[in-house]
């Protein structure tokens, strides 16, 4: 279910801390695709996505989400987007259902529909026996699933996830991956950073590799292989080659 409007269009995005974290980055993610953003630690992946999600103000550049200028109209952009960070931020003293009720209220979702869909969402993530338990005793994987359910409960059209599979066991990771692929099939766009290259290789329609705040390679797995000049190389080998080359150039 592709559309002409890009799900995300970033132009000249720049952010400096002590040094440039994101350096005049251009990035386009098409509607309805699963996009994996890869890069070594400190490459600028999280900073880029935090600026897109409205959590960090860029020094320069523009961000457009499904045609909405996210810097000029952040509220409209946030309405159609969800952000899940690598460190699940949920309330210890709320139960998963109470947390989702809060998120649904915050996004202004009709209460009758959101209650049922929240319940279904939590069950599909394997949390059915924990619906009424406070989150304070949850493992990191369970917290991550609650955070993910919170991100999905308002039916966003763009989901941005920063390392969503960290700390999840194999079964939970499969639940999450299945849920994300289901969303993509229904027309939603997913942008995800990950260090698990196998996940990107299997799930992503396109892969972007970022290093030193710049996009150093982008395309489908086949396109990346062609760019790299070897048809049979693994994503891991390509990634290391790309990042090493960029580090050497820097």
């Amino acid at each position: 279910m592709k559309s002409d409007v890009s799900a995300l269009e970033v132009r000249g995005l720049t952010k400096r801390f002590d040094r440039p974290a994101v350096d005049a980055l251009d990035l386009t993610v098409r509607t309805g695709e699963f996009y994996a953003l890869l890069g070594p630690n400190g490459a600028g992946k999280t900073t880029t996505l935090r600026m897109v999600a409205g959590l960090l103000k860029p020094d320069a550049g523009s961000v457009s989400i499904l045609g909405v200028d996210a810097l000029a109209d952040p509220v409209a952009a946030k309405q159609i987007m969800a952000w899940v960070s690598d460190e699940p931020m949920i309330y210890d003293k709320l139960t998963p259902l109470e947390y989702l009720e809060f998120v649904a209220g915050l996004w202004g979702i009709a209460s009758a529909a959101s209650g049922t869909s929240a319940h279904k969402l939590l069950v599909s993530l394997g949390l059915e026996t924990h619906l009424h338990e406070r989150c304070e005793g949850f493992s990191k994987g369970m917290r991550q699933k609650v955070a993910l359910a919170g991100a999905l409960v308002h039916d966003p059209r763009l989901i941005i996830l920063d390392e969503p599979l960290t700390g999840l066991d194999a079964l939970s990771a499969r639940h999450v991956k299945g849920l994300l692929q289901e969303r993509v099939r229904s027309g939603c766009t997913v942008i995800m950073t990950t260090h698990i290259l196998e996940v990107a290789e299997r799930m992503a329609d396109r892969i972007g590799v970022i290093a030193a705040g710049r996009l150093v390679a982008e395309g489908t797995l086949t396109e990346l292989r062609q760019q790299n000049g070897r048809g049979d190389t693994s994503l891991e080998d390509m990634f290391i080659a790309l990042v090493d080359t960029d580090a050497a150039a820097a």
């Binding site: 949920i90 003293k93 209650g115």
Partner: protein, 506 residues
């Protein structure tokens, strides 16, 4: 490493941790150690003035009679109650907040020895803090009454040792009685009640007997002297030891050490079991299943509902609110008595209420405005930051309103003017506290509440000065209105100066 060497090493480790925790509490960040020590010395030096005002007249005391012994004993008991409150807090933290328990439990060290050291470290830190705080008072007594008063430091040590021992016994008993999951909340409430209870009980007795808020009225009354035991009773030993009776002091020190030793011998071997039970059972708090249909409402309503729910489930807030409410019991009683008889003491209610409102509002404002566990979620929600802040400030105002409205309404029956002044004072004190939190806001987890005061010393002092200032202004408004204008202007100036130097200005 021999067993003795391992213990010494662990004791050093504990003392270093305690020192760094204290330093972090005082400085709020690294690299300010010198400034913190200078500030502490300055604080202790300045405290000599109020210490002289409070205790200076007792320096010459040689052969105390019953009234003096009652006052000294009550003061020592109050200090002990406060130390006990502090010690319960420290013990609870050892169980719930130390990140190294897994490491210790999985090490080949003798756990009974390790926890003995940890218990001793609690006693040492509580005693150390008590010694620092008591120094100005003992100094004043030594300067005015001679070196015999140095024995008061010995009494402080006894207070610290015995308070730590009793705190450990109470906390472990709570674990056994009500289980680990409830102990944290109950221990905090017990600590708050013990800390405030004695003073409040004396005030309540004073109100019933003499129609005044002064606790000394009861302690120095003929009735108290009549009920007090004979002069040679062991009840007066702490007072006699403080005055300079070295033999009694030796007995008390020996008793304190034996008590702590007995507690260590009794509870150290079981500490490991208790810690394991905390780790195993604090995890699951189930809510009763409810219908899956969510409540409707606006985004701000969702925010407010979430804040109210979290406040209701916050053990710190519950214990603090209880303490605030306990402090309000004496003025409420005074108010009740004043219905039947005219009393000028009723004027005292207004500043007490305004001060309590300001203090509680400061804590509430931090929890709602700065203490946000899901900051990213709220920041990525589709509503402007100003509306998020507005909803959070509304929660503070509504909470304070709910707590203080009944008291203000009751006050209206005694004096409408005073009730209006009190209500205005509560509103202004609450808004000031919320504004200061907004200006100095640093996003943090709610669990970091204990360190909230270290994020900005300036904000802490501003909050305290404004709360005191508005309380004084309202008291003057019902007695000397022209003076209230001056006091109010000064407090407003403090608030304006705070805004001027705040990071959020502009």
């Amino acid at each position: 490493m021999s067993s003795a060497a391992a213990l010494t090493w662990f004791a050093r480790h504990e003392i270093r941790l305690a020192w760094r925790e204290w330093l972090a509490m005082v400085t709020g960040s690294r690299g300010r150690r010198k400034r913190a020590i200078i500030a502490l010395i300055a604080f202790v030096a300045i405290m000599h003035l109020p210490a002289y005002a409070v205790i200076g007249r007792f320096a010459d005391l040689q052969a105390p009679g019953k009234p003096e012994l009652i006052v000294i004993t009550a003061t020592i008991f109050l200090a002990w109650a406060l130390m006990l409150s502090q010690a319960i807090e420290s013990v609870t933290r050892v169980f719930y907040a130390r990140a190294d328990l897994d490491l210790i439990m999985s090490s080949p060290a003798n756990l009974a020895n390790v926890f003995s050291v940890r218990i001793a470290a609690i006693a040492l830190s509580v005693t150390g803090m008590a010694l620092v705080l008591s120094t100005p008072f003992v100094d004043v007594l030594v300067i005015g009454g001679g070196i015999r008063w140095f024995s008061a430091f010995g009494v402080v040590v006894v207070i610290g040792l015995s308070a730590a021992a009793v705190a450990i016994a109470i906390t472990v008993a709570l674990f056994r009685l009500i289980g680990p999951s409830r102990t944290r909340l109950v221990a905090q409430i017990v600590a708050a009640v013990i800390g405030a209870g004695f003073v409040i009980a004396l005030q309540v007795a004073a109100i019933f007997s003499y129609g005044t808020l002064s606790r000394f009225t009861v302690l120095t009354s003929d009735a108290a002297a009549a009920y007090a035991p004979a002069l040679d009773s062991p009840l007066w030993w702490p007072a006699r030891a403080a005055i300079g009776d070295s033999m009694v002091l030796s007995w008390l020190l020996a008793g304190g050490l034996m008590l702590l030793g007995a507690v260590m011998a009794t509870f150290s071997p079981k500490f490991a079991d208790t810690v394991v039970s905390v780790a195993a059972t604090t995890r699951t708090v189930r809510r009763g299943p409810r219908a899956t249909a969510f409540r409707g409402g606006s985004r701000q309503q969702a925010l407010r509902a979430k804040e109210f729910l979290l406040l209701r489930r916050d053990p710190w807030l519950l214990s603090q609110s209880l303490m605030q409410l306990l402090y309000l019991v004496p003025p409420a009683l005074l108010l009740w008595r004043s219905f039947s008889e005219s009393s000028t003491a009723i004027v005292l209610i207004t500043p007490v209420i305004v001060m309590a409102a300001g203090q509680l509002a400061g804590g509430l404002a931090w929890l709602t405005i700065s203490g946000e566990d899901a900051a990213d979620l709220v920041a990525t929600a589709p509503l402007p930051p100003s509306r998020v802040i507005r909803a959070k400030v509304e929660v503070v105002l509504i909470s304070i309103g709910v707590i203080f409205a009944p008291l203000t309404a009751a006050l209206a029956f005694a004096s409408v003017t005073q009730a209006i002044v009190t209500a205005l004072g509560i509103i202004v004190a609450t808004v000031s506290a919320a504004a200061i939190q907004l200006w100095f806001r640093v996003q943090a987890k709610r669990s970091q509440f204990r360190r909230r005061q270290t994020s900005s010393r300036l904000a802490t002092f501003a909050e305290a000065f404004c709360s005191i200032g508005w309380a004084a202004t309202t008291a003057l408004a019902v007695t000397i209105p022209i003076a209230a204008v001056i006091s109010g202007t000064m407090t407003a100036a403090i608030l304006a100066a705070t805004w001027k130097i705040s990071p959020r200005r502009g």
